[in-house]
Symmetry: C2
């Protein structure tokens, strides 16, 4: 089914995607929380509709371009989950003017809250906010218990142009461990950061309609989500070797792969040369922390997606990749012009530069699904 396709090309297995989407829809139902899938990996309306079981509302994005794209396709209640800055207010307002609703914003900074309030009042628009709380990752977010949480919330709640909708935390450091009991501890810290902050705000007179937490591992392995209203996660839609390396998914769950063509045999260097490199695969090596044979990805049979002779994608140049071959039989198995599929180290970065997915299911090509990239 792949012989005539140009390469490099992003392949998405619809059956696996649907199964992965269903698993988290079920988990959210079971835990009685809303699921606000993070679409920074997929950046695709078709994927979003599977993730939301057809509903065009309640999603997370990582860029304002994604917010525009989903708004243009009828989605509402879009959380832009990167701390807002004043240089993006014009674009946020333009989204509200064009599609009737600004994305839900986050901040951890009273100064930014003040700027947003002033901007919204001047421009007669409304910006909705969550206050971001740090649950231990030390990326975005105010420390739990900080006076600035109340200070920020007060500005947002009391200004005519801004609304305080709630609080959010994100446990990106759940990726640092592969032990489920450790992930469960991080999940509890994430939950507590959000729920305790919401309680602190309630005490100060500011109600939180939204208490939002999440990362794929913490959503899957949290013991309690009491007090949480919604969960955010994204990589569960596609999975990748970084998640596999942490035992969060199996190889059969991975829905995303890169189709690549063998463009040369370098026998003197014991290498097969492929037309997928640092752009087609990304330079992410994160999975190797827990599983050092991953390199840039596993080299697999294009049809069956079975790994070929323990091969890993060793070296990437911009548009070339090389795979070290110790068994010369591999040169016969993979002649110049033949195809492989590569299971990616980190799906979010691998997918990023592509304009579309070639969607397959049960050994058939279903067509192309658009995706967006850039800012």
């Amino acid at each position: 089914m792949f012989e005539h396709l140009e390469t490099p090309r992003l392949i998405l297995d619809r059956g696996r995607l649907q199964r992965n989407a269903g698993r988290l829809l079920e988990r959210a139902r079971e835990k009685k929380v809303a699921l606000r899938p993070h679409l920074k990996t997929a950046k695709s309306v078709d994927v979003a509709l599977l993730a939301k079981d057809g509903e065009r509302s309640g999603i997370t994005v990582s860029t304002l371009k994604e917010a525009e794209h989903f708004a243009a396709h009828g989605f509402s209640d879009i959380l832009y989950a990167v701390g807002i800055s004043a240089n993006k207010f014009d674009r946020v307002r333009a989204i509200a003017e064009r599609w009737g609703e600004a994305p839900l914003l986050i901040t951890d900074d009273p100064g930014t809250a003040r700027q947003a309030a002033a901007y919204a009042e001047t421009h007669r628009c409304t910006f909705d906010f969550l206050v971001e709380v740090d649950c231990g990752e030390h990326r975005g977010g105010l420390p739990v218990g900080s006076d600035k949480i109340v200070e920020t919330a007060r500005i947002l709640a009391q200004s005519p142009g801004t609304r305080l909708r709630g609080v959010m935390s994100h446990a990106g450091h759940s990726y640092a461990t592969k032990l489920r009991e450790e992930v469960a501890k991080v999940a509890e810290a994430e939950r507590r950061a959000a729920v305790d902050s919401a309680a602190m705000l309630a005490e100060a007179g500011f109600a939180c309609e939204i208490v939002s937490v999440g990362s794929t591992p913490t959503v899957l392995f949290a013991e309690s989500l009491d007090g949480v209203t919604e969960v955010r996660c994204g990589i569960y839609l596609f999975w990748d070797l970084a998640q596999y390396s942490r035992d969060v998914c199996s190889l059969d769950d991975i829905a995303l792969s890169v189709l690549s063509c063998v463009i040369g045999h370098n026998r003197q260097g014991s290498a097969i040369v492929l037309d997928a490199g640092a752009l087609a695969l990304s330079r992410d090596l994160g999975a190797n922390t827990h599983r050092d044979d991953v390199k840039y990805g596993y080299v697999c049979d294009a049809m069956t997606l079975e790994r070929i002779g323990g091969l890993s994608f060793d070296v990437v140049h911009q548009e070339h990749g090389t795979v070290t071959v110790s068994d010369p039989a591999v040169f016969e198995r993979l002649p110049v012009g033949s195809m492989v599929r590569v299971l990616p180290n980190h799906a979010c970065l691998t997918a990023a530069p592509y304009d579309s997915y070639t969607v397959i299911e049960d050994g058939r090509t279903l067509g192309e699904w658009d995706r967006i990239s850039g800012w």
Copy 2:
């Protein structure tokens, strides 16, 4: 000049670019070789015109999308410098049909040469080729002296639909050292691989009109380019910290930077949070081999491009970056909402996802230059 610009954003300093372009134009004139700049980094017509001093001919690209883009803008004699495979023949032919000339192709495989010959005969088109020779990098290319060089050349020269135009080699391993005498040795191996292969082919009765070599370090530091007809290089247009780490350029030569906004202060984690992450900067860490303080890039004053307090871009998430701050004064120097510019680790990968350059010169913004990405 940057306050109102949205971020992340790719900034290109036209003055530096022009100076960099001039340096290699001069070097090629001095060495009496043609300059065929590699535009895989820039992917921009405006940059190509500076690199070629206005001439729309004789360039190198890394994707067929680039070949189409430059052909559509009137460029001819475009070398597609990644080994061709049969699944791309249709697209190559479409370029010839639409713009009058197929890109110049490369191969190191007799089987591919045979397929190309059969395809071109069937479809009544003409494919021009260089034979790729390995000068020690062990990526693409036949070993020097291999019988397959003559075998491949014979197929290309004797088939009605294909033409043998010459040979090429690329010393990507020139990046492995920062010692100029080592680079000069690699440059000589690159030259010898191409020139000796051309001589071998001449002896077999196949003339090589083109003898093509290059990588930025080898073109700059080669002692002899005798027998070479053209040089290929690209990173010299922008430079980056990877080249700086190898003493090939100075910090003042680097023409490319990423404008990013401070979106948070994480004082409990001693970090400043910025809106540039793994996509806006790339995950390339190559420069750290020779200079381990680079990380993902140097954090610089947005206006002067002076590095701020020895700060490096430590950690990247998809759209967030964090910079570890040991001196609390940095929090005052860089308040939330302020701008920095980041000098990139590896310009080729940093530029890749952007749709345009914001071009500046002498403290003024000149406008946007389009660039392309993807395949």
